[in-house]
């Protein structure tokens, strides 16, 4: 039976799927299933401008051009608008903006996108101006209505007032009229000393719905009569279908159709379980001629061969060769191998397609590059982009996984929808296995480091060679491969950093904190070794090399102070430290570590100091440091995607791609450096220091430096 033959009425669906409606239905169960949250909010909201809408019920809704993946942009951006509008926090709401590269481009990179810890940094002025504009338009409307001068009207906690006449109103009553006012050419923004909301721990806007189960994620979008589609993917990156037999799959109750698409074999079913069962029943022979057939071990061996070849020069200060050749110089060397890492967001990739009666299409998905997804879907479906609405949904984490140039995930999802013929709505979902084996990993990297120590015990040269895939697909220098090393913060007179771009079939992708995931580890463990070698304390020694770096110094001193660095450490434990600048934010962490019964590091406590400029919401900043620490710690302790013999991906789910769990999570203390610098991001910068801080503590505890990750594999 093909999809086109299905009785697509609701009645037919219910009968066919075997659902029997019970007699007594509680009101809770009668509630309609979520059909997706429309981008931009409902039609009842009155737009003031591109970013702010007001409801007649006095609510203020911000249109977030950044996706809410847990890092808090809904709350942060709403805080900025509420501040400039003098709104009350209780009236604030947030929705995702529609997909539109013109209206909603990320000013940091020119297309609509969330990533690089840019949400607050790049929206800081833009969305405050939107808030101030809306405020001015409300005042203008009230002044006209009340026949009083604009200058006599005040707004406080969402109430518009004219003191002399005693007139007072909420925002809602003036929404329609305010929208008709001319926006001021240059709305005046508040001075920092007048901030009321910025810098306070406002509760997050999305917390409630995430506690009672009502938050709608893409997987929860359940249009009536939807098909569920899953795709059987290969276990080798780059393999294609040679031959398949779907006879057994089609016999599974609830399976509707099976089709070949570019990435594998799609199974269409009436419900998720039928789709999964059908997929399991497929027999597929894969063509490995274009696949990656080397093991991770073989790839690493190929990587280190590049150490002896000339690379692309990222930095070359002073005379590195001369410094190493100087008489009496001691050379310290290290080679470090980093594995592939999957992002493993809690909600794996998914998308829902619903054709409207007029032939236009709604797509619901949690995309970090929504406008690119829309463009790709429109191309694949042969539609005009104007006929496609991409509704960004809240998403269950991403960590970079949902930000892909060219939208390869959407290419698959849209192709699966196209192949279905589009007669029914369709939900396409990846299982955890698809996610872990789906490629787009943090690439493997190999680092070679050499340090020169002269007779006076000074570090005189630093050479670093970095081998790995270019995430941006470049043949020349990819800044994301060397960031954090090429701009080494330590004052070492002779510095040379080179890189080698290696091509693999395995598709690469950025992973929470991008290049800093490996450069932070390499730099911070190696500088620690050099300092110990010259008899310096890791904190004091770093401070000595960080003159002229006040923000590095500030967080390092703060974290050391919080940890009471230098005080006695409990028996069987050691402390380690690291400081990393990433995405213009500065984070230092001190950790206290022992050896756990498994023989791996047990991290008891982390003291973290962060300088991210002006703190918009300290509560969110602290949460991001805690989360970044847990995410980064799990990866250095446990995580690798490994290509086995013949290139087959070894891991497939959380039983072998091990996630950090609550019993492994350290206690975390966070302090935020007070600053009036422009705000910078916090979604990623908590990640880079944790790995090297743990490795440094481990080396000091056991004498063994960590040269290969994850640590669980080497102890």
């Amino acid at each position: 039976m093909a999809i086109q033959d299905i009785d697509i009425t609701r009645r037919g669906f219910i009968a066919g799927s075997g659902l029997v409606i019970g007699i007594a239905m509680a009101p809770k169960l009668l509630k309609a299933a979520p059909t997706g949250v429309p981008a931009g909010g409902g039609p009842e909201l009155v737009p003031m401008n591109t970013f702010v809408k007001i409801g007649t019920d006095d609510t203020v809704t911000i249109l977030s051009k950044h996706i809410e993946m847990g890092q808090g942009p809904f709350t942060g951006l709403a805080t900025l608008v509420a501040e400039e509008m003098d709104a009350d926090w209780s009236q604030m709401r947030a929705v995702h903006a529609p997909a539109d590269n013109d209206l909603y481009a990320n000013l940091a990179y020119g297309i609509q996108g969330t990533g690089g810890s840019t949400s607050i940094a790049n929206s800081f002025d833009q969305i405050r101006i939107a808030g101030a504009t809306a405020r001015a338009m409300l005042i203008a409307a009230a002044a006209k209505e009340w026949q009083v001068p604009v200058s006599e009207i005040t707004i406080k906690k969402g109430r518009i007032r004219h003191a002399a006449t005693g007139k007072e109103s909420g925002f809602g009553a003036f929404a329609e009229r305010a929208a008709l006012q001319n926006p001021p050419a240059e709305p005046k923004l508040k001075a920092p000393e007048d901030f009321i909301l910025i810098g306070t721990d406002l509760p997050k806007l999305d917390t409630r719905s995430k506690i009672d189960g009502t938050a709608v994620f893409t997987l929860d979008v359940m249009p009536d009569n939807a098909l569920i589609a899953v795709v059987a993917h290969p276990e080798h990156c780059g393999a294609t279908v040679k031959h398949f037999d779907d006879g057994e799959a089609r016999k599974v109750q609830g399976v509707v159709d099976v089709k070949q698409v570019a990435s594998g074999i799609a199974v269409y079913a009436d419900n998720t379980f039928a789709g999964l069962k059908g997929r399991d029943a497929l027999h597929i022979e894969w063509d490995l001629s274009g696949a990656e057939t080397r093991s991770s071990e073989e790839i690493a061996a190929d990587y280190v061969r590049h150490f002896d070849e000339p690379g692309i020069v990222a930095t070359n200060n002073g005379n590195v060769d001369g410094a190493f050749d100087a008489p009496g110089v001691q050379t310290v060397e290290a080679e470090i191998i980093f594995p592939f890492l999957a992002h493993a967001p809690m909600e794996s990739l998914d998308a829902v397609f619903v054709m409207a009666p007029d032939g236009s299409l709604d797509i619901y998905t949690g995309a970090q590059f929504p406008a690119m997804d829309r463009q790709v879907a429109a191309e694949i479906l042969g539609m005009q982009q104007s006929q496609v609405r991409l509704n960004t949904q809240m998403t269950g984490g991403a960590f970079g996984r949902k930000a892909q140039f060219g939208s390869p995930y959407m290419q698959e999802a849209a192709a699966v929808y196209a192949a279905s013929g589009g007669s029914r709505p369709l939900k396409h979902m990846w299982t955890r296995e698809d996610d872990i084996r789906g490629g787009f990993y943090r690439p493997m990297y190999a680092h070679k480091l050499r340090g020169a120590i002269n007779q006076k015990g000074e570090i005189t040269a630093w050479e670093q060679i970095i081998v790995g895939q270019s995430i941006l697909g470049k043949v020349d220098l990819d800044e994301t491969s060397v960031e954090g090393a090429s701009n080494l913060p330590y004052a070492i007179p002779n510095l040379k950093v080179t890189s080698h771009n290696v091509e693999l079939v395995v598709p690469p992708l950025w992973w929470r904190s991008v290049g800093h995931t490996h450069t932070g580890f390499a730099v911070e463990t190696f500088v620690d070794e050099l300092l110990v070698k010259i008899g310096r304390d890791p904190v004091e020694g770093r401070l000595g090399l960080l003159s002229g770096r006040p923000r590095h110094t500030g967080v390092l001193r703060k974290a050391a102070e919080m940890a009471d660095w230098g005080s006695a450490v409990p028996e069987g434990r050691a402390r380690g430290v690291a400081v990393v600048e990433s995405f213009h934010s500065y984070v230092a962490q001190v950790v206290e570590v022992s050896v756990d019964p498994e023989g791996i590091p047990r991290v008891h406590k982390v003291w973290c100091a962060v300088d991210c400029g002006l703190a918009i919401n300290p509560n969110v900043i602290k949460a991001q440091m805690e989360g970044g620490i847990g995410y980064g710690l799990g990866a250095v302790l446990f995580d690798a995607v490994t290509l086995g013999t013949g290139g087959k991906i070894v891991q497939s789910n959380f039983h072998d791609y091990r996630s950090i769990r609550i019993n492994e999570m350290p206690e975390v203390a966070v302090e935020i450096i007070k600053s009036s610098e422009r705000p910078t991001g916090v979604g990623e910068p908590g990640v880079p220091p944790i790995g090297p801080a743990v490795a440094n503590a481990w080396r000091s505890l056991t004498g063994t430096p960590v040269r290969q990750l994850p640590i669980v594999n080497i102890v």
Partner: protein, 152 residues
């Protein structure tokens, strides 16, 4: 045909008896608070209460639950649930939120069994619930806060 109670209401299902309870709850009952994260009892995102005990619905075939009482995040109530939800909000636990229904179902079950859990009790009750956003620090704090709030 399987008959069971879902959030206090009698329901029946006569599809494939192998269908995991998770997909019955989501696809057929359209209650979407219970999440899929792994499908193999490794992550806890699908945690529900089956006859009062926390259970991974992704590995619970519907055929196993004849006559049982199923409670999901949409139906959880009682003083432990109220205390947990209040503490969760006060401490602003969720980040992406996707794992949180499962976390809360496990946490409520813990408090129902152990009103004043120690850190070790929390570890054993909550280790099956992965949070990729690593909100663990706050989960622990919220469970302690909820337990304390129930004392008074």
């Amino acid at each position: 045909m399987v008959t069971f109670t879902l959030n206090g209401t009698e329901r029946t299902f006569n599809g494939d008896p192998d269908t995991p309870l998770l997909w019955v709850i989501r696809d057929f009952e359209k209650l979407t608070g219970t999440k899929y994260g792994c499908g193999i009892a490794q992550c806890g995102a699908c945690t529900i209460h089956l006859d009062g005990m926390p259970r991974r619905s992704c590995v619970t075939p519907i055929s196993m639950i004849e006559g049982s009482d199923v409670v999901t995040i949409e139906g959880i109530s009682g003083k432990e649930a109220e205390a947990i939800k209040t503490a969760w909000a006060a401490i602003d636990v969720p980040q992406c939120g996707y794992c949180q229904s499962g976390q809360i179902m496990s946490a409520v079950a813990l408090l129902q069994m152990v009103p004043k859990p120690t850190d070790d009790d929390i570890n054993s009750a909550m280790t099956g619930n992965i949070c990729r956003c690593a909100t663990y620090h706050r989960i622990r704090a919220a469970i302690h806060a909820a337990a304390n709030s129930m004392e008074g």
